[in-house]
Symmetry: C2
Subunit: 153 residues, 2 copies
């Protein structure tokens, strides 16, 4: 199986496969005399594993750690549990942050909308008004307590 077929079967771009090889997520495969990569079923399984973890939004570094752990089948799997739980905690936190954000944006967009578009000029746009108020350090519809925290991630 050459790289194109492997990529098609796993549903990824050819470039992505080469990228994973560079990043040591896939083993370097054998080559034909012309230098073409040749893959077997093992490679496809490993690639599917990686893609599955990626579909769960895990960073590649953690996928690498899982692969590492999976290869030492006789050691305790505390690392595996830790990786998955830490990732779950991150996802929870991010989802919660996005919920807040969504509420803020809805508050903002509710400020604007009664007037039909052609009559509605920038000078009276409530959205911009809110954002400019906020720039003066005043409380705004989206951040009523006047705090602007950094959003990371």
């Amino acid at each position: 199986m050459r790289i194109g077929e492997l990529a098609r079967k796993a549903g990824v771009d050819v470039q992505t496969v080469r990228y994973y090889e560079r990043e040591k997520l896939l083993e370097a495969p054998a080559r034909t005399p012309a230098g073409y990569r040749v893959y077997g079923e093992k490679h496809l399984e490993r690639l599917n594993f990686v893609r599955h973890c990626r579909s769960l939004d895990m960073p590649l570094a953690e996928v690498r750690a899982l692969l590492e752990a999976a290869s030492n089948r006789n050691v305790p799997c505390g690392d595996v549990d830790r990786i998955v739980h830490a990732h779950l905690a991150r996802v929870k936190a991010k989802r919660a942050a996005l919920e807040v954000l969504e509420a803020q944006l809805e508050a903002l967009s509710r400020q604007c909308g009664s007037q039909p578009a052609p009559e509605h000029r920038v000078a009276d746009c409530a959205i911009l008004g809110e954002l400019i108020h906020a720039a003066h350090g005043e409380a705004c519809a989206c951040h009523p307590d006047g705090e602007i925290e950094k959003s990371r991630g």
Copy 2:
């Protein structure tokens, strides 16, 4: 006011201010004879505007568009509405995707956890088991219908 004071007042890194200037989000300020940037209140307001939009997770390109719109105060503000609504739609979609993800990770982590850590070896780790099953194309606890979609963003 020099760059350090401006940055402190806006709660950002000095490097970020210079970055925003390069990216045309802030006007290039006057300079002292030694080449130091000198800022006024207008710059602080504009920087606060940018940071407020960033706290709402807007991409800089959209912040730039908002700033552009805000400077033509006499035109209709359809662009402003469109930007904010499109951004809101993106945030909603992302939040929904994270909710699904969170459920998937919880399903995964529930597979593992009854056995005390030292006895729990990689070979019997249910989390890894699930992930490896998935790599074989079988349905797994996290993606029961067997589909793995690409997550973007």
